[in-house]
């Protein structure tokens, strides 16, 4: 037992060392969309901001508050550096590895493996997962803590469930049942508060209960057996059925959603996902130091069973693996459990919900049991055990070396972005990200060349066109063709609203300061007009609000504040949210028009209050804002400032007249 613990500690130390080079990496991609919430309503140094922050999540109905809470370990304000976040992620990964080792040990005992075999299997199974290079893109991608925390609670849930059912078997009814409730429902709740994926925990427990049933030793009475069956029905089967019903109920909404925001249909997604799963399995069993990373937007969609040709074979393979798992469950329960666990844990993200098609981090939880059956084989009594132990160590070392290579890459943002761009030549995101690093390293010519290479293949992709404008501005050589390309992208893109909004804001500033020859007010106006004509954005009030707001910004920069007020009013009318109203009024005030700002606030009062969110965390969030009188305070403060500014202006005018 001591040897087992020592070996586990060794594994954890190795994992820490292997991950160490990755700690110096940058924020990436979705990090920028999620982490700034930390400072959105001020530094979190008192309870009011704490509650506002913790309820501010909008992903999932739950808003993932536990994940948000965990970010506070690393920073209470924004901006912050990435290092502490990454350290916490890696430590969480180590914790998960240790928990996994414990869970595998328990599962091994439940399968009645010999103690030594169970220990070897748990060490290898947990070690291979802990050191697997594929998981680097979860562990070192800060925002994916939302994939790691549910795994933690899932492991706790499994551990607790097995311990509780053993207690029940021993006749300890109170402890057994309360433990089961805590494990099945408590951990599921916590996992869901980290990410909706956690809802799968009851199903996963059900799989374990089915394939690795509790032993009836040392004592089990008919009464406890009956109790256990009822507990399974209520605690596991009921939530699993509810989840299934919810997923089925959501299908029509999923189909509509895909049509709105994706380039593929739900049917195409269902055809594509088996290929995605097969590719995941390839990367899991034939590990690589360099995979496509975060930029999988170039993963080809299956349009029918034969295009690409791998579609049908992949589907057959996935079904065959599931079939094999069912067939083997009596003879090789570990293999059956590992496979079914893998596919069950993919149910939410790899079926019909219209999420993006491919992400490596989706394997974090599902892959947990995959290597355990190999560990059982390597630890089995029989011939050449020393050789098999040696092989197990060799495999772990190999994985560690690959992971080390990968974390070294993750520790160097510039190199990482460029290797990803080289590996994914067809990914617009990868090309843009590399170009942005070029710009940050003062290499606008390289950035422009890279984006020009990518432009023909992605005419509707906004990020390429607008970043190309940025690069050409830096070279003082903005081409008319680039503006045309940007207009085309703005007029046809389906996504990229937030990107476009931020970019327009900075372009208007550039046009005003004349920092980029060729990007003047009329050029920006033509781009805004193109965006206005985008049929995909016309149906979205949020986008329309953005565009009207931007028109106002442009007029303000161009020296027409009256026009600006009209556009701001129009923008506000689409969705009269207080944050929008206050921001616009503040902009007018800061530009030297406090009276217009006050007029805008007056106009806001005449508008009907926006619809309150009906469900989920946003509902609680708005309740908290109401309770804190947050917007009331903010608007009063702004009014006071604007009044003071207006008064000062009048005084100045009078003084001027007097003199």
């Amino acid at each position: 037992m001591i040897a087992h613990a020592a070996a586990l500690i060794m594994l954890l130390i190795v994992a820490w060392l292997v991950y160490h080079p990755g700690l110096s990496g940058d924020f990436l991609f979705d990090d920028f969309g999620n982490l700034p919430a930390i400072g959105a309503t001020g530094p979190i140094d008192h309870w009011a901001t704490f509650w506002r922050y913790i309820t501010s999540g909008t992903a999932d109905p739950t808003g993932r508050p536990l994940t948000l809470l965990s970010f506070l370990i690393d920073s209470r304000d924004w901006p912050a550096g990435p290092r502490t976040f990454k350290i916490t992620n890696v430590l969480l990964h180590l914790l998960n590895g240790a928990l996994l080792c414990g869970v595998l040990l328990k599962l091994g005992r439940a399968l009645r493996l010999s103690p030594l075999q169970a220990r070897i299997a748990s060490l290898f199974g947990a070690g291979a997962w802990l050191l697997h290079p594929l998981l680097v893109s979860t562990t070192l991608y800060i925002v994916q803590r939302e994939a790691m925390l549910p795994a933690t609670f899932t492991l706790l849930g499994i551990f607790g469930w097995i311990a509780s059912r053993d207690a029940l078997t021993r006749g300890d009814v109170a402890r057994g049942l309360s433990g089961m409730v805590l494990a099945a429902w408590g951990c599921t709740l916590l996992a869901m508060l980290s990410k909706a994926n956690g809802a799968l925990l009851p199903l996963l427990l059900l799989l374990i209960e089915w394939i690795v049933p509790a032993s009836d030793q040392p004592v089990s009475t008919a009464a406890t057996q009956r109790l256990r069956k009822r507990a399974i029905a209520v605690l596991l089967i009921l939530p699993s059925v509810l989840l299934a019903l919810w997923m089925l109920w959501a299908i029509p909404a999923d189909v509509r959603g895909a049509a709105q925001i994706r380039d593929w249909t739900v049917g195409q997604r269902l055809l594509t996902e088996p290929r995605v799963l097969v590719d995941y399995l390839r990367l899991l069993f034939v590990p690589h130091a360099h995979s496509s990373g975060l930029f999988n937007d170039a993963f080809p969609v299956s349009v029918d069973w034969l295009h690409p040709v791998t579609t049908l074979p992949s589907s057959v393979l996935v079904l065959a693996l599931i079939g094999v798992a069912f067939a083997l469950r009596g003879k090789y329960p570990a293999i059956a459990l590992a496979l079914l666990f893998y596919f069950a844990a993919q149910l939410l993200e790899s079926t019909w919900i219209p999420l993006e098609l491919y992400y490596e981090h989706r394997n974090y939880l599902p892959a947990m049991l995959l290597f355990w059956p190999i560990g059982i084989g390597l630890g089995a009594p029989g011939a050449l055990r020393w050789l098999r132990s040696l092989a197990a160590t060799g495999v772990l070392c190999f994985l560690a070396v690959l992971t080390f290579q990968r974390t070294s890459l993750w520790g160097d943002g510039y190199r990482q972005a460029h290797i990803w761009a080289a590996i994914n030549p067809d990914s617009a995101r990868a090309q843009t990200s590399a170009a942005q690093y070029d710009l940050a390293h003062n290499r606008p010519r390289l950035a422009a060349a890279r984006l020009r290479n990518a432009l023909p293949a992605h005419p509707h992709d906004l990020q390429i066109a607008v970043n190309l404008i940025g690069a050409e501005c830096r070279l003082n050589a903005l081409r008319p063709a680039t503006l045309t390309a940007a207009r085309r992208a703005l007029g046809t893109t389906k996504v990229g609203g937030a990107l476009g909004f931020d970019w327009f804001n900075s372009s208007i500033a550039m046009a005003k300061q004349r920092t980029c020859p060729g990007l003047d007010f009329s050029a920006v106006q033509s781009l805004l007009d193109a965006a206005h004509d985008n049929p995909n954005w016309r149906a979205l009030p949020g986008r329309q609000q953005d565009l009207a707001h931007l028109q106002g910004m442009l007029d303000l920069a161009d020296g027409d504040p009256g026009q600006t007020l009209q556009y701001f009013n129009r923008a506000l009318a689409f969705e009269p949210r207080p944050d929008t109203a206050l921001e616009q009024a503040a902009i007018l005030g800061a530009a030297g028009y406090p009276r217009l700002g006050l007029a805008h606030l007056d106009y806001w009062r005449t508008l009907p209050p926006p619809q309150e969110p009906a469900t989920g965390m946003p509902c609680i969030h708005s309740w908290i804002l109401r309770e804190q009188h947050y917007w009331q305070h903010e608007s009063e403060r702004l009014r006071a400032t604007l009044h003071a500014d207006a008064a000062a202006q009048s005084a100045r005018v009078t003084a001027l007249k007097d003199s």
């Binding site: 029989g382 011939a383 050449l384 050789l387 290579q405 460029h418 290797i419 761009a421 080289a422 590996i423 030549p425 290499r443 010519r445 390289l446 422009a448 060349a449 890279r450 020009r452 290479n453």
Partner: protein
């Protein structure tokens, strides 16, 4: 003296190693020859001077020799270079150490072979002491065998000898595993023996492949052992199915896949374009070559053994030359004998079959050059096994022991003597070259090498030696099928002498390049002339060299290296970077996985402001950048591309 006791065995082995080392000692003083230059001396990749991961990774993938890159062999060269620089002595010393190690492995492998056979057939088949004696004699004979000198003193052939380390060790492990299987008391013992044997084959082949492709023959050698000696048996089953499956997976399946990949290559005309023979001619010629190999192995004499055998005439038909058909008949007869003797004298059969098996890669359909002595490094084991088991038998008592013993002794002494003489020839590059040229007046390479080394010795100073060099070079150039290297050397002499008669030589060269398949040597000649002109050591008219390039490029299926050489010529001498870029694009297209061409192409693109294409090439380089070996070059190219430059003049 009783050979059974351990101490005696060790003493005899130590003596054999010592004598081998002594015999080879004079050769350690020699220099680099022939293929050592492109692979080691002129191969910047393996010149590791600072120990960084990127440098070692770059060295591992630096071999220009084959698709598989032979990283292990290249790494050992780089380690040599790291510690001793360009000095060939330490390189040769390491080669000698590898050869001695192979001698020990051979002994151990043969002991396991004979032990396995004894277990399988019972004690009456073979006597323990006789087995010992045979293994010792074969190993000693093999260590001293003159034909194996190539793998020791010819530095680059470490690829072969290092590869055979893993072949012999793999075979030893396989036979040890088989002994366990044959002796096992239960299924568990059999299984562990089987795993050991499997690991021996798989690891031996896998690691050996990192040195040279010859390692793929390891499963064939093991399979032949089963066919002759062991009959696929294990302790409890006369025919163990597992062994059959093992060969299905390690031999037949890979062979089928390999052949289906290889055959289209072999049958396409393009792959024979760099050769002056066809597939049929090669197969006919190789029959004669194998007979020569046998002769050189069994009856070695210093006057026929050579680094170069390029004077060997091609067989154009069964009777041209007349020896072709007899050679084929002889080989067929040998094969027939081995099949016939398979049951009664399996060891003799195995020896013959090993000889043939070892030639499977190099003497059949792959368009390699025709003759090289180092190709017999494993094959000679088979020959010696046959010869010594014929000579000494496997019984403890043999008829006429003194006569046979004396014969064996004379054979060993003769081998040692010939090898010693060869090693002395090899002790000095010029001496070696002159000896080879005088012994092989029809070998263009031998004559060229003699001419080249005489030029180096005289440094182009007018002297009788330089005149002699010209004689050698003219003789080399006039030999049918010779490359343009002799003309290149003559042009260099002429340009140093400021003599006007080089036009004739140029015309000769251009005609050859137009009419003969372009060989690597021809491309090397063109590159040397380019470099000589760039460094202004040579003063010839650039248009002559351009005509030479164009003559070579006019032939179908020009290879990447020719395009790359032309690109360098265009940039350095014509100052036409647009042409250089076009030519280098051709080189990249034909050798997409060669980073050097892409680096050069990206450089030209970058400095002429063709940034978009440069970025694509840099990305391609990044995809090949394993272990950061190209990092520094990529960083430089990025800087150049960002800086840009004047557009190309058209």
């Amino acid at each position: 003296m009783r050979l059974g006791s351990k101490t005696t065995t060790l003493l005899v082995l130590a003596l054999a190693l010592l004598v081998t080392a002594l015999v080879y000692l004079p050769g350690l003083a020699g220099g680099y020859v022939f293929d050592d230059f492109p692979n080691i001396v002129d191969n910047a990749g393996i010149h590791v001077t600072h120990s960084t991961l990127a440098a070692w990774a770059n060295a591992a993938w630096a071999s220009p020799a084959s698709e598989l890159q032979r990283p292990l062999a290249s790494l050992t060269f780089a380690v040599n270079w790291f510690f001793a620089g360009a000095d060939p002595g330490p390189m040769k010393a390491v080669n000698l150490a590898i050869h001695l190690l192979n001698g020990l492995l051979l002994y151990a492998m043969l002991r396991q072979l004979l032990r396995a056979w004894r277990i399988q057939r019972g004690d009456e088949a073979i006597d323990e002491a006789a087995a010992h004696r045979l293994a010792l004699l074969v190993a000693t004979g093999w260590l001293l065998l003159p034909i194996n000198l190539m793998a020791v003193l010819y530095v680059v052939q470490r690829m072969e000898s290092l590869c055979q380390v893993f072949v012999l060790a793999g075979l030893w492990a396989y036979l040890s595993g088989r002994c366990r299987m044959l002796l096992a008391k239960d299924a568990r013992g059999e299984r562990s023996g089987f795993i050991f044997a499997t690991l021996g084959l798989v690891l031996g082949t896998g690691i050996g492949l990192l040195s040279k492709e010859s390692a793929v023959l390891l499963p064939v050698y093991a399979f032949l052992v089963e066919c002759t000696l062991l009959d696929f048996a294990s302790a409890n089953t006369p025919r163990d199915r597992r062994i059959g499956w093992l060969y299905f997976f390690v031999l037949f399946l890979p062979a089928a896949l390999g052949l289906s990949w290889l055959l289209p290559h072999v049958l396409s005309a393009a792959s024979w374009d760099g050769r002056n023979f066809t597939l049929g001619e090669r197969l006919l010629t190789e029959a004669r070559v194998l007979v020569k190999y046998l002769r050189w192995t069994v009856l070695p004499d210093p006057s026929t053994l050579s680094l170069y055998h390029d004077e060997m005439p091609l067989s154009k038909g069964l009777f041209t030359p007349w020896t072709t058909l007899p050679a084929i008949l002889l080989l067929t007869a040998l094969l027939g004998v081995s099949v016939w003797l398979r049951k009664r004298r399996p060891l003799i059969a195995l020896g013959i079959l090993w000889f043939f098996a070892a030639q499977l890669l190099t003497a059949t359909v792959i368009p390699l050059e025709l003759v090289y002595e180092h190709r017999n490094y494993f094959a000679s084991i088979g020959v010696l096994l046959t010869v010594f088991s014929l000579l000494l038998g496997l019984r403890k008592s043999i008829a006429l022991p003194i006569v046979r013993g004396a014969l064996a002794g004379v054979l060993l002494l003769w081998c040692a003597g010939v090898t010693y003489l060869r090693a002395q020839d090899w002790s000095n590059p010029l001496r070696l070259a002159l000896a080879e040229a005088n012994r092989h007046p029809n070998s263009p390479r031998a004559n060229y090498e003699a001419g080249r080394l005489l030029i180096i010795a005289t440094d182009y100073a007018p002297s009788p030696a330089l005149e002699k060099a010209k004689l050698y070079l003219r003789r080399a150039g006039m030999t049918p099928g010779a490359s343009t290297l002799p003309e290149q050397a003559l042009i260099m002499i002429a340009t140093h002498e400021h003599s006007a008669d080089d036009i004739a030589v140029w015309n000769e060269m251009i005609t050859k390049l137009r009419d003969q398949p372009t060989t690597q040597e021809d491309i090397s000649a063109l590159i040397s002339l380019t470099q000589c002109r760039v460094k202004t050591d040579c003063h010839f008219d650039t248009s002559l060299l351009q005509r030479a390039f164009e003559a070579a490029l006019s032939r179908p299926n020009a290879i990447a290296r020719l395009h790359a050489a032309y690109a360098d010529f265009a940039s350095d001498l014509l100052h036409d970077d647009a042409l250089a870029i076009r030519a280098m694009r051709d080189a990249v297209r034909k050798a997409p996985s060669e980073p050097a061409y892409r680096v050069q192409l990206a450089h030209w693109l970058a400095i002429h402001g063709l940034t978009q294409e440069a970025v694509q090439e840099i990305d391609a380089l990044r995809r090949m950048d394993s272990l950061g070996r190209l990092d520094s070059q990529i960083a430089t190219l990025e800087l150049q591309a960002e800086r840009g430059g004047p557009p190309l003049a058209h």
